[in-house]
């Protein structure tokens, strides 16, 4: 017989794998995505887009389109500019950052190929598309700024002349001492890394319905987004509406991954179109539109070097990152955050103290680049981990040994990285040791050696990582962005003793509503089946930051925990009054108020609610039952809750064709307290596959004139089931002491290091050939080139 664990207590749900109740409607085809919603008198918009990457808009002729069947409105940038104030994607804490003002639709200039220029609103989407073909726009094509070096050349055409150059932001970090260390170090390795642009490819494209009711001057927006309050603020502010008149509803969302939390021009236009028409207007991006208007991610060129002593002790890193972000910095989170995280996360798992980095964020005539799952992490992780492997090669050490030598010791916390990040407590060595056992490393190495003799080339790569989660106001608030870092929950008990929790974090399929119910059930003392969790509606949930940057479980979960405890105290106060008992002698278990000591049932929750709601006359005088609580929580203490982990990739490279078979992937991850292992593991697996997509398949390929050449789902490759491996997940749990819950984020961990592990594995496989690669995606053509075959 095994010992009792914390899960053997009544209503113990934290740490338990339970399935998601709200998945049942999705399985029955009864999901309600924005794509599915139809409102009375709803119209549909199609956009006419710029075919040029950079062009002056000479004239727009909309007369023919306006006369087409079913057309209700054709609107230009000038029309929408009368309603909507411009926005600028900068934040104050990125000193010197600049970006031009943006409008829903441009007035005089198109700055990327695919930019929406004219909106056509009609009775159906098909009719709107018909009429869009009848809009005539005369463009005067301008030289396109495409390449990140050409963009910075002294004679480069400047996309926004008022800014003076194509440089959005220039940042530097220098701890000092780097030059001297590199001059005298026993070993210096260096490499130039290229990270292709890729994009989120959510299965449900972006979708929005704006419904402006002129009779009450109210705007309701059904918006497929992970951050309803952020858009509540934006729509109110830029359209001059009182916040109390704006409601944003985010129903079921068909994937987001960070992509659906940015302000998109088409989406902003839809609000204005609805205001102009006084009718609901729906926009759903088709897949081609998604590729040319959803944010892209990455697009970095990193030149980096690492210095080590004769034994392989890392001494310093020196990094130069140039990243292209499109013609604007995205709003309201900016397009500098990724580069900022790239150059601050470099080398984060290691003990070295000397670091120098230069970051240049560059405008170009491409789709805007901004935050997508694991913002910056894969770039920093790949650069660091490849250089660490190169040091291992120079000093003839195993990848595990070099990391053991250099990682911050597990008892070395708290500590601060050379770039200023404060680490509360990480577990690199515990994770490394666990990974070593899980993957049976020695056997894999022996097998690799044996197979090489038979002409079979397998590679093993590992990558350790640090992830930023649970961000406080240091992330956005301090920069002046109106993005909340706190969350709120309202929990109420119904007369039947059921529980209703409205919370500001949002459900994207990752299981928010499930874990909130687990937390509330455990801390209130009721069965989780009796708890309904509501998310995604600014009219019915408290104000909060919602879901981004791996903050839902850590911050939203803590909010729910504290709210549940507050409600429990209220319930016990009423119960104590009814029972003539001391509140601290009572507890709640399985929906009953019980004796805290013996567990004997005293009064059922439903009976307390019945008395409180219907027979308050029978309560002792002066007793006012508070069976609803509202509670907010904002992270304090550490600015971020850093997590860590390590991944290993095992693959087989066909050196004749460049084709790669990924055999297996292992992840050991420390996200602190695991609330629901089933959901956490699936977050990791899903994240890993997006990282492997970046490693091998996904790239937005641009031609010289700034045209995206593979913007369809047939041409842009996303990982398919047959190409993906089984993924083994293990955990080390180091709860954060900043919260009672102890949970940190996990949604981006898989993506953070998968491409780095894959790149190291490929380089390991190519070792007998003296070939190396430092570019993702590692396509067969690039691998054959690295091998010298083409």
């Amino acid at each position: 017989m095994t010992a009792l664990t914390s899960l053997d207590r009544p209503n113990s749900y934290i740490g338990r794998s339970v399935p998601r109740p709200n998945a049942k409607r999705l399985l029955a085809g009864r999901g309600r995505y924005v794509t599915d919603i139809t409102l009375p008198r709803m119209l549909h918009v199609a956009y006419v887009r710029s075919p040029y990457a950079h062009a002056r808009i000479v004239s727009i002729d909309i007369d023919a389109a306006r006369a087409m069947p079913g057309v209700r409105l054709v609107a230009t940038g000038a029309d929408l500019a009368k309603l909507c104030t411009p926005w600028v994607g900068t934040m104050d804490h990125f000193k010197g950052m600049k970006s031009p003002p943006q409008l829903p639709l441009p007035i005089d200039k198109a700055v990327w190929s695919g930019q929406a220029v004219v909106a056509v609103v009609a009775d159906t989407r098909a009719l709107a598309e018909d009429a869009a073909e009848a809009v005539y726009i005369e463009f005067d094509e301008l030289p396109a700024v495409v390449d990140i070096d050409a963009a910075r050349a002294p004679d480069a055409p400047v996309i926004s002349p008022e800014l003076g150059s194509n440089l959005c932001f220039h940042g530097t970090i220098d701890t000092g001492g780097v030059e001297d260390i590199f001059a005298s170090a026993a070993h210096v390795v260096e490499e130039e890394f290229l990270f292709g642009r890729h994009t989120a490819v959510t299965m449900e494209p972006r979708a929005i319905i704006a419904d402006y009711d002129p009779s009450e001057a109210r705007l309701t927006v059904h918006h497929a987004t992970q951050t309803p309050y952020q858009f509540h603020d934006i729509y109110a502010r830029h359209y001059g509406l009182p916040e109390s008149s704006v409601r944003v509803i985010a129903p079921d969302i068909g994937g987001s991954f960070g992509m659906k939390l940015h302000m998109y021009h088409e989406d902003m236009a839809v609000v204005g179109l609805s205001m102009m028409l006084g009718r609901p207007v729906k926009y759903v991006a088709d897949r081609i539109e998604s590729f040319v208007s959803d944010i892209h991610a990455r697009d970095h060129r990193v030149r980096a070097r690492m210095a080590a002593d004769a034994d392989g002790n890392i001494l310093a890193m020196d990094v130069e990152d140039v990243t292209g972000i499109g013609a604007f910095s995205a709003y309201p989170r900016t397009s500098v955050v990724e580069g900022n995280q790239v150059y601050r996360l470099m080398g984060a798992p290691y003990t070295f103290r000397n670091y120098r980095a230069d970051l240049q964020v560059v405008f170009q005539n491409k789709v805007q680049m901004s935050q997508y799952r694991a913002v910056g992490h894969p770039v920093a992780c790949t650069v660091t981990e490849r250089l660490v492997d190169m040091i291992a090669g120079k000093t003839a050490q195993d990848p595990f040994a070099i990391r053991t030598r250099n990682m911050i010791p597990d008892d070395g916390y708290p500590c601060t990285s050379p770039t200023g990040y404060k680490f509360e407590s990480l577990s690199h060595h515990a994770c490394l040791a666990k990974l070593y056992d899980m993957m049976d490393y020695d056997r894999l190495r022996a097998e690799q050696s044996e197979l090489r003799g038979k002409g079979i080339h397998r590679g093993i790569g590992i990558a350790t990582f640090v992830e930023i989660t649970n961000p406080g106001p240091a992330f956005y608030g301090v920069g002046g962005a109106r993005i909340s870092s706190q969350d709120g929950a309202i929990i109420k008990i119904t007369p039947a003793g059921d529980v209703h929790c409205a919370i500001s974090i949002t459900e994207l399929g990752q299981g928010t509503e499930t874990i909130v119910a687990q937390i509330v059930a455990e801390h209130l003392g009721v069965d989780r089946d009796r708890i309904k969790v509501m998310t995604g509606d600014t009219d019915t949930t408290p104000y909060g930051g919602a879901t981004y940057a791996c903050r839902g479980a850590g911050i939203g979960g803590e909010t729910a925990l504290q709210a549940a405890k507050k409600l429990k105290a209220n319930v016990l106060a009423v119960a104590a009054a009814i029972l003539q008992e001391e509140p601290d002698k009572l507890d709640i278990r399985n929906g009953w108020v019980v004796d805290a000591s013996g567990g004997q049932q005293r009064i059922e929750l439903s009976e307390i609610a019945r008395i409180a709601y219907f027979r308050s006359d029978t309560l002792p005088p002066g007793t006012q039952a508070q069976l609803t609580v509202a509670h907010h929580y904002a992270p304090q203490g550490y600015p971020f809750a850093f997590t860590n982990g390590i991944q290993a990739c095992h693959l087989e490279l066909d050196v004749e064709t460049g084709l790669v078979k990924i055999l297996k992937l292992w992840v050991v991850e420390d996200c602190g307290r695991v609330i629901n292992p089933l959901l956490v593991d699936e977050q990791i697996r899903g994240g890993v596959v997006q990282g492997l997509g970046a490693a091998f398949f996904e790239e937005c390929v641009y031609g010289e004139s700034g045209q995206l050449t593979n913007g369809s789902l047939a041409d842009y490759l996303v990982p398919m089931a047959v190409e993906m491996p089984d993924i083994v997940v293990g955990h080390v749990e180091t709860p954060t002491l900043d919260t009672q819950l102890g949970a940190k984020g996990v949604g981006e961990a898989g993506t953070a290091a998968a491409s780095a592990a894959a790149l190291n594995a490929i380089n390991d496989a190519m070792k007998p050939f003296g070939a190396t690669i430092a570019q993702v995606p590692m396509t067969p053509a690039r691998l054959l080139k690295a091998l010298g075959h083409i």
Binding site: L26, L27, T35, A126, P205, R287, G509, M724, D726
Partner: protein, 174 residues
């Protein structure tokens, strides 16, 4: 000068999820849009509208087809079944339960298509290997799960059905 392709109305009549339906529609309307917009059966999703992602898979006369690549007029006279129909007849109840228990879905947008493919695959004889399941699923894109949980869920049901002898080989044409 109205364009006959876009504006003429033709009548289509078919059986959808066991019910006879008849509507006057534009000839260019796809089966996916007919199901979603005309019949309000929104369980069928459109993810790429070019037959790549598999979110729109439905059964047409017992075969799994891309509703986005089929015109509604092509389905006239046919029997169509969507995820709502399979769900209502409870023929995929075990698959739905296995997907639920294994958390083989996150956002759920690809899920109806996944269930169609799984239903078709498991209507064949025998227990497919994991590689065969992965191969069969490769016309269905999922961005959330990384696929492993879906493979697990389908494998579980394949074994359950095999053990219970409850194969449905007549259900789906291949």
């Amino acid at each position: 000068m109205s364009d006959p392709v876009t504006h003429a109305s033709v009548t289509v009549a078919m059986t959808v999820n066991g019910s006879a339906v008849s509507h006057g529609i534009a000839p260019r309307l796809t089966l996916a849009d007919f199901l979603r917009q005309t019949l309000e059966l929104t369980g069928t999703h459109t993810g790429c509208e070019m037959g790549v992602c598999g979110a729109c898979l439905v059964m047409l006369d017992g075969r799994v087809v891309h509703a986005c690549l089929t015109f509604a007029v092509q389905a006239s006279g046919s029997v169509v079944e969507t995820v709502e129909g399979l769900s209502g007849r409870a023929v995929i109840a075990d698959l739905q339960e296995a997907f639920h228990q294994r958390n083989a879905l996150q956002c759920g947008f690809c899920t109806p298509g996944m269930l169609m493919t799984a239903h078709s695959l498991l209507s064949q004889e025998g227990v497919p290997s994991r590689d065969a399941i992965r191969d069969a699923l490769s016309g269905n894109y999922c961005r959330c799960t990384g696929y492993e949980a879906i493979v697990d869920a389908i494998e579980t049901v394949a074994r359950q059905r095999d053990a219970g002898g409850a194969t449905q080989s007549a259900e789906v044409g291949v």
